[in-house]
């Protein structure tokens, strides 16, 4: 028997209708927008199948990518496949496009969405680090109105979000990459595709007159949520990228992160490779291309 045999399915036609469903306890349900995480969790028994599902796949209000008031705005229902091929995303948040290209495989990329990846609140969300380095703000909607919450305050912990039962993630607002800046994404998984990461991360940085003027770095799978590393970022501002900086940033990063051991990797490797990723990002920033 399918885990969803007893589940009621509601399919709203508009965002307003979806919000009204969420507002009423008699029609409230688990939001589904592709189901690449949820369907697996329900079938595997990781989470119980819900009594009601609200299918928001197909709500056009959630699938836009656009520039608005100087911000890159990405609808929560935008798929990974759309992200990796969007020229706007490639230009304004390239590490997000790179990350989207490493999610699962082609089928998961075609169905899975950025809103679902964040909504699943897993420390291994491939979307989180690139959103964090772009200072992303989550826009939440309910019949009560709109709330805008910076991502670090929205993702509260393992499987924990600052999201009321009647609220829905509608879009993310990202600061576009400044002119002359660079980004990069690195995912370490147990294999080349269809992998949940051991550690992954993104950075956004800029060098002016030989010194680092901007450096934002975020790592995933090293803590209960994806994390920015403000101590490392502050330490790096104003420095030239030389051997001493590389060594210092690597060591400081490994000292700061507190990863766990699980079936995918060891705490020791995760700690070490976190420092190596930051070193790699600095080398990328210093490279001529």
């Amino acid at each position: 028997m399918s885990a969803l045999e007893q589940t009621e399915l509601l399919t709203p036609n508009t965002l307003d209708e979806a919000l009204r469903f969420l507002a009423d306890e008699n029609t409230r349900g688990t939001l589904l927008c592709g189901g690449t995480d949820l369907m697996v969790q329900w079938e595997a028994g990781v989470r119980p199948a819900p009594a009601r599902v609200i299918n928001i796949k197909g709500l056009t209000e959630l699938s836009e990518i656009k520039m608005e008031n100087g911000a890159l705005v990405i609808g929560a229902g935008v798929t990974h496949a759309a992200l990796r091929h969007s020229s706007l995303v490639i230009q304004c948040a390239p590490s997000l496009a790179e990350a989207a290209a490493t999610v699962g495989g082609a089928q998961i990329q075609a169905l899975g969405t950025i809103g679902g990846s964040i909504g699943n609140a897993s420390p291994a969300s491939d979307m989180a680090p690139s959103l964090l380095v772009a200072d992303a703000i989550a826009e939440l909607a309910s019949v009560r109105g709109i709330r805008k919450v910076p991502l670090p305050k929205f993702i509260l912990g393992y499987r924990k979000l600052d999201l009321a039962p009647d609220e829905l993630i509608v879009r993310f607002h990202l600061a576009p990459m400044p002119v002359g800046a660079k980004e990069n994404w690195h995912k370490l998984g147990p294999r080349a595709a269809q992998a949940i990461s051991k550690v992954m991360g993104s950075y956004r940085g800029k060098v002016e007159s030989g010194r680092i003027s901007l450096f934002a770095v975020a790592l995933g799978s090293v803590a209960p949520t994806a994390v920015r590393l403000p101590e490392i970022e502050q330490w790096l501002i104003g420095r030239a990228i030389d051997a001493e900086t590389l060594k210092g940033a690597e060591k400081r990063t490994s000292d700061i992160v507190k990863p766990i051991a699980d079936i995918r990797s060891t705490a020791e490797y995760r700690r070490w490779v976190s420092g190596r990723l930051v070193r790699g990002f600095l080398e990328h920033l210093a490279s001529p291309s």
Binding site: V40, A44, G105, H186, L188, P190, R191, A192, A193, Q194, A195, I196, I263, R264, S265, T266, E268, Y269, W272, V273, R276, L277, R279, G280
Partner: protein
């Protein structure tokens, strides 16, 4: 999917009979009709079952030729060749169907019985465990080209070059496919697949945690055969079942050692193990 048994057995029988392969049907094995020939183990199917069928087909061919000689050619020797029986004295030919129809009408379906015999030079003493426990072995040689990322110790196999002696190759396409599959499985064995036990339960209990290679992990493969037909049977084939998985993991271990100076002697070879061996060197 599958080992290709239902393709190569008709091929072998068609070859032994000198008829077209589409004249041969290979029903599912059933001991109602044939004796129990033992399990498909030790990569023995092609060598043992294949040879048994090949020799049986040759016997059946001789039986049909003897009938054709007697019934059609007045005792002159007959030779079955694809579609015809040929009188080797006069070169007169009779279509296969005509001979077969009359044979079945007169004598009923033709059966032959053949049993695999170990080549006489192969001796094994079950009491003392002395001798050759198997009549022959297949051999392979694997070369792995591996990149270890100095930043992260990630291991990527770029190319595998391999040579195989599986005796006479019955079906090169299927044999290569079996080797590609075996090498891919060996890649998982070498770098990914890990089944531990925690509190009495497998820790990798699903395909999410038991990691096998994807197409993106699979390297370029060069596969070539060196054919040394096995002299102990008329067919000359050996097995290709298990041998493709045997050599690649050691080859990768050697390549990783050559790249990093560190020998990992427990599979899978992972960046985590490299780090704990390399320690402060990196």
């Amino acid at each position: 999917m599958g080992q290709g048994t239902f393709t190569i057995m008709p091929q072998i029988v068609a070859d032994g009979l000198s008829v077209n392969m589409n004249r041969v049907r290979c029903p599912n094995p059933d001991t109602k009709f044939v004796p129990d020939s033992g399990p498909t183990v030790a990569s023995r199917t092609t060598m043992v079952v294949g040879s048994t069928l090949f020799d049986a087909a040759i016997k059946l061919k001789a039986q049909m030729e003897a009938y054709a000689s007697e019934a059609f050619f007045g005792g002159a020797p007959a030779e079955l060749n694809e579609h015809f029986f040929k009188n080797t004295y006069t070169n007169e030919t009779i279509p296969f169907e005509r001979v077969a129809d009359r044979l079945i009408k007169e004598k009923g379906p033709q059966r032959v019985y053949n049993q695999f015999k170990l080549p006489p030079q192969i001796r094994w003493d079950q009491r003392t465990f002395v001798g050759d426990s198997y009549p022959s072995y297949s051999w392979g040689c694997n070369v792995a080209e591996v990149e270890v990322n100095p930043l992260t110790l990630e291991i990527k196999v770029k190319k595998v070059t391999s040579f195989w002696d599986i005796g006479r190759v019955i079906n090169p396409v299927l044999a290569k496919g079996q080797i590609e599959g075996g090498l891919t499985q060996a890649l998982g064995f070498a770098l990914m697949e890990k089944m531990g036990i925690k509190d009495g339960l497998f820790d990798a209990s699903r395909m999410q945690t038991y990691v096998v290679p994807t197409a993106l992990d699979t390297p370029e493969m060069s596969i070539d055969f060196l054919e040394f037909p096995f002299t102990g049977t008329a067919l000359g084939a050996k097995g290709v079942g298990e041998v493709p998985i045997d050599g690649l993991a050691p080859a990768i271990a050697n390549a990783v050692e050559s790249a990093t100076g560190v020998r990992i002697n427990e599979l899978p070879i992972t960046p985590e193990k490299l780090l704990s061996k390399l320690g402060a060197v990196v």
